[in-house]
Amino acid sequence: MQVPAPFDYERATSVEHALSLLERLGPEARLIAGGHSLLPMMKLRLAAPEHLVDINDLHELDYIREEAGELRIGALARHRELLESELLGRRFPIFHDAERVIADPLVRNRGTIGGALCQADPSEDLSAACAAAHARLVIRGLGGERVVEMADFHRGPYETAVGPSEILAEIRLPLREAAGSAYEKVERRTGDWAVAAAGVCVWMSDGAIADVGVGLAAVGSSAVHCARAEEVLRGERPSEELFDAAADLAAADCSPAADQRGPVEYKRHLAGELTRRALRRAVARALG
């Protein structure tokens, strides 16, 4: 079978240790957590880091908790922990919807939310869910930490705001009342990357949509944040016509590329169709 090129291996014992290793080893070092994106790329020799810093022992980054009006998820929380978190499922069912269709149970046993977001694959599901949830991301370096908005996190395909000597430490989801959320994905087969996917979070007030987030996966060069669709929804009472209008904008504003999963026309159609379906379920959950 295919095997990675040689590299050196270090195991970090704390976040500080991981950061100092990155600082010392320089730009040819990569962090490895679940490894389910990085190792296949290394086997294909599309990636050949000289050093791997294993952060699987950083249990300080493995948590899902409510704190300061936010739901805070440590970057090392595994997909499976997200799926099994009653708290996350209750406050943000979009994450449970998404986790059920991310890869397969074995991959979910290893893969982490931090790894998923940092891979910055345009088809990655949690990025779209985080975009919809208006997530904020805590990035730590030896000099301290900074918080960036999800919209500023991805700099393009496979590129993020995390610097070479930094680590994504935490994902923060603002908690608000009367929330509902949902994730819809079309895949060619169980475990495949999305042909297209849409995530929606709504926050209701007096029967109207007080605020909303719409994020799409696999229909742009990174997770697509649908500002115009959100704009048309905000402040309005939910209706099929409203959802149609938002779906049309989501479809119009994405920029899919044709590949084996489908042509542009189909993916654009899915962006609209799945936005509509996610809106319906998110609103129903908020009102339910």
Binding site: M1, Q2, V3, P4, A5, P6, F7, D8, Y9, R11, I32, G35, H36, L39, P40, K43, L44, L52, D54, N56, R80, A103, D104, P105, L106, V107, N109, R110, T190, G191
Partner: protein
């Protein structure tokens, strides 16, 4: 580098290249060839073993990353000459043909039953959905896992219940 881990209850320490994949460590370094491999991209699950009780794809775990952890392979399932009920179930229900995916399927089923002793068909199908079988169409694998759920003590239980 040196790595120390527990494999089927025994602590082993070996000198390895950092890039060595766990599947190769098991197969080549320890000669535990019951764990197979079928792809390069973590899709097929033929390499599935238990790490700290949870099924993982050993082609996508470095042996170095398994250091300090407990790994269980198909060779570690039989106890005192008695097959695990899942192994027996695969025989009873014709849950295998070429046998290549079988060790991985059996390990995943073992982990599933440890967490959920009475899984539904849907739960079984979900649990094995990261593993490909090209021979059985999965129908009898599902039955095999159900057999194991219904015979938690395996072949011994069948013999006893028939008495």
């Amino acid at each position: 580098m040196q790595v120390t881990l527990t494999v089927n209850g025994d602590e082993v320490t070996r000198e390895i290249e950092p890039r060595m994949l766990l599947v190769h460590f098991l197969r080549e370094t320890l000669s535990l060839t019951g764990t197979h491999w079928g792809c390069d991209t973590s899709n097929c699950g033929a390499c599935t073993v238990l790490m700290d009780g949870e099924p993982v794809k050993s082609c996508t775990v470095l042996a170095a990353m398994a250091g300090g952890h407990e790994v269980r392979t198909i060779e570690g399932l039989e106890r005192a000459g008695e097959l695990d009920p899942v192994q027996q179930g695969f025989i009873e229900e014709h849950g295998l043909q070429c046998g290549f995916c079988t060790p991985g399927m059996v390990m995943t089923a073992r982990a599933l039953l440890d967490r959920n002793p009475d899984p539904t068909e849907e739960e079984i199908r979900e649990a094995i959905s990261g593993q490909i079988c090209r021979c059985t169409g999965y129908v009898n694998i599902v039955k095999a896992v159900r057999w194991a759920a219904e015979h938690p003590a395996g072949a011994a239980a069948t013999a006893a219940s028939a008495s």
